[in-house]
């Protein structure tokens, strides 16, 4: 992975930059000691590491604004960082960039039950939002599996999902407003407690922009009442095809489950060995289908799903008897990554989305690729929305194996795009999938996306080297190409 060439003049000015930043953020909010910088050298994508030039941890919007204005004026690059749990390297430091961490923005600012929303600083964890409202029976719906640690600001940057997003949406569908500091230090507020923008949907474009457009300093999200009850079914199948057919039939019957997850044999065995979730071991594919809502609805839908499963040749059907058992069903799925990780010194977690109808084909092709590269692949899958998480097992100590794992991962993502899918469903592009963007987008597509970037950050100072494989200068992107002659289209009807 090649990162933009560090600017030596910035590195040479390091001590001056540290001094200047110290006057904005005094005391321990500035980290320059090499030993302490180590803690920031990577995010959840641990294969890539780089010490930042310096880390700054502001506490107020004003400080963020001053830092941004300073960097804007002095051509210093910035890598934003939330909790550092991202899986695509979005917070990977650069040698010539300051890492701006939001961990000190850790307060919940307002709980507004009348308008069913919470306003919080961005460093607050996803789970803490639910925890602050659950005594009144509310929760925040998007639930990425890192929710105990990941920050809400990071969720906005990555447009995080979770197992319940088929029914309740991603971050973008649950976000009402933000305060954001622009690269030039200006502070803007987008949205609030009302729905929908009056002008361009900036909230929509900032969500999932992976730290390329601004620094988020405040977030307002909507909260929902917890469903009355939730129940889960475990469904086992002799083939992935049958499991896939069952998923299509459930949706075809008009049912949108709260969660619908699939695991293949490898993942089932690994999870069972690790947490003993009570999964059947003699099936090729396992579905966990969760239904939530009012009790009569859940009972009604559970029996409907049972019938559909039987019609689709399920060989194993078990409905959770109580809350404890429901959570046990989920324990295996939630522990799937570490469970698979236990079987191998290292693993890569991929994140493509495919049209669900292509599942059986993609799994077959994946097993061919797995053999070709000589690396094992386990599959867990958000079956409801087609989001695949193949886990590629490897040992970085064996020469060439990491490169092989990355090449296999890239082939899997190319396969996803070939069947009409996408490179990433919820983890983001970051550095990990950056060089594959050309598989999905033309040069024109990518240039147009970067013109949006230029409107926010004309000097490419915010998180450069992430998401887009080639950095075009904004002046160059702005140039107009003169098209063919001005005598227009004689064949088009005119009235």
């Amino acid at each position: 992975m090649e990162m933009p060439k560090p600017d030596q003049t910035i590195i040479d000015r390091r001590s001056q930059i540290i001094n200047d930043l110290h006057s904005i953020v005094p005391g321990e909010g500035l980290i320059a000691d090499e030993g302490e910088l180590k803690a920031f050298e990577c995010d959840g994508l641990m294969a890539y590491r780089q010490l930042p030039l310096v880390v700054v941890l502001p506490e107020t919007t004003k400080q963020v604004s001053q830092i941004m204005a300073y960097c804007y004026k002095n051509d210093v690059k910035i890598v934003p960082r939330g909790a550092g749990t991202g899986l695509s390297g979005g917070a990977l430091p650069l040698e010539d960039a300051i890492t701006l961490g939001l961990s000190k923005f850790n307060k919940i600012l307002e709980i507004d039950y009348d308008n069913r929303c919470v306003t919080t600083q961005p460093g607050v964890t996803n789970l803490a939002i639910t925890q602050c409202v659950e005594d009144r029976g509310f929760y925040y719906a998007p639930d990425p599996s890192s929710q105990i640690a990941c920050s809400i600001g990071g969720n906005v940057a990555e447009n995080s999902g979770g197992v319940h997003c088929l029914k309740y949406g991603l971050t973008t569908n649950n976000l009402l407003g933000i305060e954001m500091v622009m690269m030039n230090g200006e502070v803007i507020r987008i949205g609030g407690k009302h729905l929908d923008p009056s002008s361009y949907d900036l909230l929509g474009v900032v969500t999932g922009s992976e730290g390329l457009l601004g620094i988020i300093t405040e977030v307002t999200v909507r909260i929902l009442r917890k469903p009355e009850i939730a129940k889960a079914l475990l469904l086992g199948f002799e083939s992935c095809e049958s499991a896939g057919d069952c998923v299509a039939a459930i949706i075809g019957a008009g049912i949108i489950p709260g969660g619908m997850e699939m695991m293949d044999t490898f993942a089932i065995q690994a999870a069972e060995d690790f947490v003993n979730a009570g999964y059947p071991r003699n099936v090729a594919a396992l579905l966990i289908v969760e239904l939530d809502g009012p009790a009569p609805e859940v009972e009604h839908l559970i029996s409907k799903v049972e019938r559909i499963a039987t019609n689709n040749n399920a060989t194993y059907i078990k409905v959770s008897e109580d809350e404890e058992e429901r959570l046990k069903f989920w324990s295996g799925r939630k522990a799937a990554f570490p469970a698979v990780g236990r079987l191998s010194p290292d693993y890569l977690c991929m994140d493509g989305t495919i049209p669900r109808g292509q599942l059986a084909y993609v799994l077959r092709q994946m097993s061919i690729l797995s053999q070709k590269y000589g690396l094992r692949v386990a599959n867990v899958f958000h079956a409801g929305d087609g989001n695949l998480h193949p886990l590629i097992l490897f040992d970085a100590n064996n020469e060439g194996e990491m490169e092989a794992a990355e090449a296999l991962g890239a082939d899997i993502l190319r396969l996803c795009v070939q069947v009409g899918g996408v490179l990433t469903g919820e983890h983001g592009v970051g550095v990990e999938k950056r060089d594959l963007m050309g598989e999905m987008f033309t040069e024109e597509d990518l240039k147009q996306q970067q013109r949006l970037k230029c409107a926010f950050d004309p000097g490419h100072l915010l998180n450069p080297g992430k998401v887009y494989p080639t950095l075009h200068r904004c002046a160059e992107l702005g140039k107009m190409h003169v098209h063919k002659g001005s005598l227009p289209f004689p064949d088009i009807p005119r009235f």
Binding site: L170, N173, V187, D201, L202, H300
Partner: protein, 411 residues
């Protein structure tokens, strides 16, 4: 209206835009023209008529995804979906009658470009939440795409969100993909029938708040004051002569019945409650969605206010104090429609200053062309928001040839 250019396909759209941008000719972009009275009038510009781009291109019911050419009529899409018991969940409104433009003709790209959504907005999201991907021609005369045909995707910037609600000022959509969802099996509406005297705006909005804070998955939450309720096409409502508060629940039969019972118990303290079944529910929510209540007097101005839901009635009543008009509340109070007697300044300063106090925005939704040419129809943008909006526009349409001024003076 100027000359009409009618491309037959996306390639011809590209040709026209390349010519227009080279020649610095600004265009008035249209599908079926049902929304020409939204935003600033585009009088006199050559019209880019996209109505020939009309076909469903991809529909896979089990994938919950549909792609169609830009000007495919929403009605045609809904028919195709109905065959598989699916719907466009954000309930695209039909403002034909309200605006004095053709009814039943609205197109996919038109609805998306204006980001319009009906009562189910509170549960299912707006048009922007269902807009998965598109192909378009930018004002630079370049074809580009964004998004995809799968429901979960975070690859690159989410330009679909940017296109939604941009009123054709950034690019000309040629094809769009949306998420579709199963049609609800059953629908019922719980009504609070208020006492005869008074419009109960505050009580209604408070009751809606209670319903939306319940676990009963409310998919419509509206309050109709007495002055409007008598215009309802639902006979029962028209005859009660009182204000009504309406709460909709949808889903499998046993669930809907259960939730209706629970909601009647919850809301019973506000007044007597009634239930509407399928037919009447459908009529009521359609007339709320399409604003049929304001189609009787076409001279009145219509304002659309988006505010924090709990503030809806307070803001509306402050504006209406001393200014004759009617308010209709949707989205649990968060969407306020005001119909007011015409005034030259459209009362814009008054409306917007009250909205500013609580946070939100106000759009002058229906007004004569002349008034929309002088009064800002969209909520004015403050300093930094104006400059970022302008820079975004310049990145997509540097020569300002796509619906210039439709939203804001220099955008």
């Amino acid at each position: 209206m100027g000359e009409i250019l009618k491309p037959g396909d996306a390639d011809e759209v590209l040709d026209i835009i390349q010519w227009a941008t080279n020649s610095a000719v600004a265009l008035d972009i249209r599908g079926a023209g049902t929304k020409i009275r939204l935003g600033r009038p585009m009088s006199g510009l050559p019209v880019l008529d996209l109505s020939a781009l009309n076909a469903i291109l991809y529909y896979e019911a089990s994938e919950l995804v549909l792609s169609a050419s830009a000007a495919t009529p929403i009605n045609q899409i809904q028919q195709a979906l109905a065959e598989n018991n699916q719907v466009i969940a954000f309930e695209p409104p039909d403002f034909g009658k309200l605006m004095g433009t053709p009814s039943g003709a609205a197109t996919l790209a038109g609805i998306l470009s204006c980001n319009l959504a009906g009562p189910r907005r509170i549960q299912a999201g707006a048009a922007r939440d269902h807009f998965l991907g598109f192909n378009a021609v930018s004002g630079r005369g370049e074809t580009f795409k964004s998004g995809s045909r799968v429901v979960k995707n975070v690859t690159g910037f989410d330009l679909s969100k940017l296109m939604a609600g941009s009123y054709g000022t950034l690019a000309v959509l040629t094809e769009a993909t949306i998420k579709v969802l199963p049609a609800p099996e059953k629908v019922r509406t719980v009504l609070i029938c208020w006492a005869q005297d008074g419009s109960y705006d505050h009580g209604g909005v408070k009751a809606l708040g209670d319903a939306m804070a319940s676990p009963h998955e409310v998919s419509g939450a509206a309050h109709v004051p007495a002055a409007l309720a008598h215009l309802s096409g639902v006979q029962f409502i028209a005859e009660t002569g009182s204000a009504i508060t309406a709460v909709r629940v949808e889903g499998p039969g046993p669930s809907v019945e259960h939730r209706c019972r629970e909601l009647r118990q919850l809301l019973g303290r506000y007044g007597s409650t009634e239930e509407l079944h399928t037919t009447n529910s459908t009529i009521l929510w359609r007339e709320i969605r399409d604003l049929d209540f304001f189609t009787h007097d076409m001279n009145r101005l219509i304002w659309k206010l988006s505010v924090p839901p709990s503030e809806g009635s307070r803001v509306a009543l402050k504006i209406l104090e001393g200014n004759p008009g009617d308010a209709l509340y949707d989205w649990g109070g968060g969407l306020v429609w005001l119909a007011m007697e015409p005034r030259e300044d459209a009362l814009a300063e008054v409306v917007r200053s009250f909205v500013r106090e609580v946070g939100g925005h106000a759009t002058l939704f229906r007004a004569p062309d002349k008034m929309r040419a002088t009064v800002s129809t969209f909520h004015p943008l403050d300093g930094p928001m104006h400059s970022i909006t302008k820079r975004i526009k310049e990145g997509f349409d540097p020569n300002g040839i796509l619906n210039p001024g439709r939203m804001h003076d220099d955008i």
